[in-house]
Symmetry: C2
Subunit: 81 residues, 2 copies
């Protein structure tokens, strides 16, 4: 069966986010005042697996092997259906 | 009051996503079989505005001015609280 998984990659608390800093700076220059800005990446991955548990397990392995860097990133895996 | 808004930036349907293509290719090389892969970006922005409507309106303007390219991107704005 086909399952679509939403993988969210965020920076761990305390890890510097230069991209967020640059975007906040650019927004300020455009006249927008922001109190905070965080960035995250989403991967929507469709897998063909026998069951949902296997889809989730594969997505976790993909995070460990390629999508997330465990030193600086947190990740969550959500089954969308 | 402080509102945190979740801005999701996705590529419009039909727009090529070379990053997704590269990641899918890398996953294949690692032995993972994927049926589809899409990428998206999230910005979590905290604003101090008098009300939720104003926060949402400002976030929309930020998308138009900086965060999204209307030619290739779709965006959604969600008030998180």
């Amino acid at each position: 069966m086909r399952y679509t998984l939403k993988i969210t990659i965020t920076l761990k608390p305390g890890i510097l986010d230069p991209e967020a800093h640059a975007i906040r700076h650019a927004l300020t220059n455009l006249g927008f005042r922001t109190e905070d800005l965080k960035t995250a990446r989403i991967f929507l991955i469709t897998l063909d697996t026998p069951d949902e548990g296997e889809a989730r397990a594969q997505a976790e392995k993909m995070c460990e092997r390629l999508l997330a860097n465990p030193v600086i990133h947190d990740h969550t895996v959500e089954v969308m259906g």
